[in-house]
Subunit: 312 residues, 2 copies
Amino acid sequence: VFFEGSEKKLEVVVNTKSSLRELPSDFWQDIVHSSEAKILSSIENDEVQAHLLSESSLFVWDDRFVMITCGETKLIQSVHKFLEKFPKEKIASLIFQRKNEYCSHLQKTNFFSDIDSLPETFTGKAYRFGNLDTHHNFLYHLDKSYLPPSNDHTQELLMYHLGADAREIFCQKNQDKNKIRKFLKLDKYFKNWIIDDFVFDPFGYSLNAINGSNYFTIHVTPQEEASYASFETNIKLWDEHKNFGTLLLQSFSPGSFDMVSFNDYLPEKPFKNTIPIKIVKEKLSCGYNVQFKQYIRNDVLEENAILLKDRK
Amino acid sequence: VFFEGSEKKLEVVVNTKSSLRELPSDFWQDIVHSSEAKILSSIENDEVQAHLLSESSLFVWDDRFVMITCGETKLIQSVHKFLEKFPKEKIASLIFQRKNEYCSHLQKTNFFSDIDSLPETFTGKAYRFGNLDTHHNFLYHLDKSYLPPSNDHTQELLMYHLGADAREIFCQKNQDKNKIRKFLKLDKYFKNWIIDDFVFDPFGYSLNAINGSNYFTIHVTPQEEASYASFETNIKLWDEHKNFGTLLLQSFSPGSFDMVSFNDYLPEKPFKNTIPIKIVKEKLSCGYNVQFKQYIRNDVLEENAILLKDRK
């Protein structure tokens, strides 16, 4: 059965005196249910709440939240639900993304229908980073000037066509979480982080991790035909944690991958035997410098066709 | 308005004593109408009939036909219609392809629903050449052994993201056909060919050309967001007409392109400043060696994001 690993993402910053973290759990459950996902488990520290969802993750800080959903979820409905409670005036920044999908024809909505469903009064700009016929990232933002604080930077690493080692680890039925954490060397790189992870039946793995106001999240869809793993964080991945960025590419060994950065930089050569095939840069009027880079491996170009059906 | 230039293709060989060219024009109109296309004009010589369609082309020889349709056509319905008249026993070879689509979610059917709609008794194999998340080619063939004659070879050249010169020529309202033929240097390379071409309103260009049993066909969708041009032929494009292959790449200057060959070879380096990013080879049990190669230009990687909407 095909599962769409690639994600939609929503990041909202509010300017209210009360903290988003003080909202009742019903509030966030409503938001999550709107997209047709549900909360599986939650962790928190003094700065952030992290909810593991049936389809990806939700992180809530005092003044912002990040929600990521995959599969056939309708994340735009969570935007609508949020707008019922928070008028536009209280929203400092809103960014809605849809990443390149393996099977866009199986989705219940598309980026354009999502954006068109927003209220007329909601002024905004929609962009596409990358070409329509290959990897790309759709991005919509509220058209309101915003000055992100200096520690507001995000890295996304979206990996397609995972290598055999990663697929073997993640395609093991009832895989032990500890084996996965060991494979990802989390004990080595992220001591003192609170970690919450989930192994899905029959396949799939999700992980949320927090430390102070920092977070990272990993989601893996290992099925061979459309294998996918994503990593997202607000740590300085390619500065302080450069080795971890490289380790991720080494562990997952993707046939192709995209890097997306918000107010941060992207390395020239993140991994051996890979070449960039698209580089897109845009300075958004909402205060973020966004970069999108698509890479492919150039050491494994030749293959046989994939036999999809054999009706005898 | 978005128009899907990328094509579906059907090639059928029959073993009957009577010629397919002797079938009444109603027969072929029925076949064409089934896919929701229509015949615009026709040319013929002693060996082949060539029909220009509202969405692409149909070529009919004594023992075979090739039908290519783009847009939102349902070419699989033409297969059904043909099977009403020609039982499986009279079909020597049948190959149905769907090329990489810019917007698969806008299509009325997909490759899997197409194949699943065929009768249970119709044994066949379905393949995918290339990855799902970038350029690929779906191919289904009747599982029946067939020995193609030595002159049965096909070249497809599928060009995406056309260069500015080509877009300018083809985006000119009511463009003069002769200017297009001159741009393509057809007078130089294809003297003595019968040519039939059509300029669509507001955009789009189709051309059929025949000479003896040889054909080539060109279809151009020049709109910037999803520009596309295809060339298909049974001439030895990269042997005897190597310069024309190169000229096509020079004229259309695509950002990326795919080459597909049936029982023929593909050049290593068809054009300067391009690199292969995928090479797929498969020997089909129905007698054809198929190769698929995806190329990109590597001299223009950097760009800005595309502004899709700006709601103020």
